[in-house]
């Protein structure tokens, strides 16, 4: 009888240890926090060129993460990229004339969306569109423009 009791105690300890390990990893080593408060609102923004933006990229305002990119689609008529942004519910006072621009963190870092607030007193809400956008800077195009200007005749 005593032996089965020991076995039961060890088994119980093993099961609890296993679940604690899974819980610790899920909470302290993943981004589960960003799934928790999914009750936000969705806005869209159209860009001419999104560069290397990926779904799940951060949406920031003054450097603070306020949401994520949930999907990226191509508009078949205007051939511009339609980016859907999921903004956290407690950032519900973003002016509706704000500017969304695609930025890069560091020289080689990944791309994210930065929102610069406008001055309007109306706020973005579920389903609204960000009017003013600034596309990603594509390094090759910049270099190309630089060289074509530098070598063009009469461009002193």
């Amino acid at each position: 009888m005593k032996q089965t009791r020991t076995i039961e105690i060890v088994t119980g300890a093993f099961i609890i240890l296993g679940f604690v390990a899974l819980y610790v990893i899920a909470t302290s080593a993943t981004n589960i926090g960003s799934y928790g408060n999914a009750k936000g609102y969705v806005v869209t923004a159209e860009f001419n060129n999104i560069g290397g933006l990926k779904p799940h990229a951060q949406v920031t305002m003054a450097g603070v993460a306020i949401g994520r990119v949930s999907s990226i689609k191509l508009d078949p008529k205007s051939f511009s990229a339609v980016v859907t942004l999921q903004i956290d519910g407690h950032y519900n006072e973003v002016p509706d004339d704000s500017t969304a621009s695609i930025l890069t963190s560091g020289l080689l870092g990944e791309q994210y969306i930065g929102i610069d607030p406008g001055g309007s007193t109306d706020f973005l809400k579920e389903g609204s569109t960000i009017q003013y956008t600034q596309s990603a800077l594509v390094l090759e195009k910049l270099i190309g423009q630089f060289f074509s200007k530098a070598t063009a005749p009469g461009s002193k």
């Binding site: 039961e8 093993f14 099961i15 296993g18 899974l22 610790v24 990893i25 899920a26 080593a29 993943t30």
Partner: protein, 256 residues
């Protein structure tokens, strides 16, 4: 001499084994509801399969995490981005090394024990004795072991990953003086809950089912001799290793 026979027969043998284990799995699943009504038998197996593997899993996890940390540090140092060591260790463990190495260790530690136990029951005619008493040995012996293995595996993988992460932390932060904050913040930024954590758990469940199924299958159909049981035990380790690595490729291709 199996390997001297024509490839045709080898293929047939392989298909036969695959089909037989598939049918055996169906057989096991049919009796699963019966077995769930006697959880005591299952938890006894969780003890012998899971809890007894704990020390092996924890020590291996610690060293795998430390090696990952050290290798990652040496390579990332060349790009001056050593703060990514945490991400490398966490992603490597959660996505691949945790489930795969745990499954391989599991085959060696628990799979062989299951095969030789059931094989010896067959060889000493204990299974036949049960049938004489109208007790189905599949229901009484095999299904609880199978379920015990499937339950234990994700828990073992979780422990392996947690201890591995601790190993990476020891090497990265304590030994190599990477900043503690950037170590964790890089992990937070790049390890996705759905894509990395959840798919690792799915992998561990599938590997648990595969490894335990092969172990009980080989034991149940072992030739009832001393030599037959020893060959079945060898086959368990070899087949589990091959099956786990092949299934790992398939799951990785589907999920990422």
């Amino acid at each position: 001499m199996k390997f001297l026979r024509e490839p045709y027969y080898i293929l047939l043998d392989f298909l036969e084994m695959l089909g037989a284990s598939g049918l055996f799995l169906l057989h096991l699943l049919r009796y699963t509801p019966h077995a769930l009504r006697r959880p005591g038998l299952i938890f006894q197996q969780v003890f012998t399969i899971g809890a007894m593997s704990l020390v092996l899993i924890m020590v291996s996890g610690l060293f795998v995490g430390m090696v990952l940390g050290l290798q990652g540090f040496n390579t990332l140092n060349k790009f001056a981005s050593t703060s990514m060591v945490g991400t490398l260790v966490a992603l490597g463990l959660l996505r691949e090394l945790g489930p795969v190495i745990t499954a391989l260790l599991f085959a060696g530690r628990a799979g062989t024990a299951l095969t030789s136990e059931i094989g010896l029951m067959r060889a000493t005619e204990q299974l036949a004795g049960m049938e004489m008493m109208a007790v189905d040995p599949v229901r009484r012996i095999v299904v609880p072991r199978f379920l015990g293995g499937v339950i234990s595996m994700p828990l073992l993988v979780g422990i392996f990953n947690a201890v591995g992460l601790l190993g990476g932390y020891l090497v990265g932060v304590v030994l190599m003086h990477i900043d503690k904050g950037s170590f964790w913040s890089q992990i937070h930024a790049h390890v996705d809950f759905k894509e990395d954590f959840r798919s690792g758990i799915i992998k561990s469940l599938v590997f648990g089912a595969v490894a335990t199924l092969i172990a009980v299958f080989e034991g149940y159909y072992a030739q009832p001799t001393a030599e037959g049981v020893s060959r079945a035990t060898t086959r368990t380790v070899v087949n589990t290793a091959l099956a786990v690595l092949a299934v790992d490729y398939l799951l990785t291709a589907f999920m990422y």
